[in-house]
Symmetry: C2
Amino acid sequence: MRLTRQTNYAMRILMYCAANDGRLSRIPEIASAYTVSELFLFKILQPLVEAGLVETVRGRNGGVRLGRPAENISLFDVVRVTEENFAMAECFENDATECPLVDSCALNAALREALNAFFEVLMRHSIADLVAQKSSMRGLLGIEMPVEQRALAG
Amino acid sequence: MRLTRQTNYAMRILMYCAANDGRLSRIPEIASAYTVSELFLFKILQPLVEAGLVETVRGRNGGVRLGRPAENISLFDVVRVTEENFAMAECFENDATECPLVDSCALNAALREALNAFFEVLMRHSIADLVAQKSSMRGLLGIEMPVEQRALAG
């Protein structure tokens, strides 16, 4: 059981944007911070933009930023967009099983209950929680604040 | 996020054995009930036997049965044996990430908390819970009880 690489990096992109405190983040800088390709980040950004979790601003001074406050983006909001499939077993997909138990299976019900417990924890955590130590995060990610903002930034 | 096919069929093998109420179950019959190959079932059985969840009896009248009472086998006991990896993200594996946040990542902690909630639900459910309706299960799985046991069986 493992989250997809897409989910993993979607979380990190959102953490980067949240640490950057409303300013536009440039893709090459995010890619460099996480040592992945820009193409890979663009692919991950697309569904995040479609879901309204990220906004893009085009042009020479363009970049990306959160589509809504980091406090209002739960980790569940992210996995719902980035994980293709929460079918824990083939019988979660109605027409894909030959299991004779499919119509009366307590296993299916137990796995759904476990998955819901997993989701409930993710709903309780927001992207803002993940970057509570903003200035430390900026240091780790190599995000430089403009001089005039340094005094104000948290 | 998905459990492996191994986990899925390990659960079903254990459910079959539990429904069979202590009698030996034959691999060809389990394979036939779930329409999978015997070779595939043998592969899944091996770690279950090593972990003591299943016992094998060799010979012409041999077969498999639970290694301990179904009440004492939780679904967590099963996934712990059959899932290779609960690294939700690459940073769960200490030496496998270049993420600059690795030493102070709240994402990692949140995912671990969610995974623990998932496990806790699985710990609360046993194989016995999954076959509470034994006679109905036997019907669905095509398990025939010997005539002399039918009057006694639950």
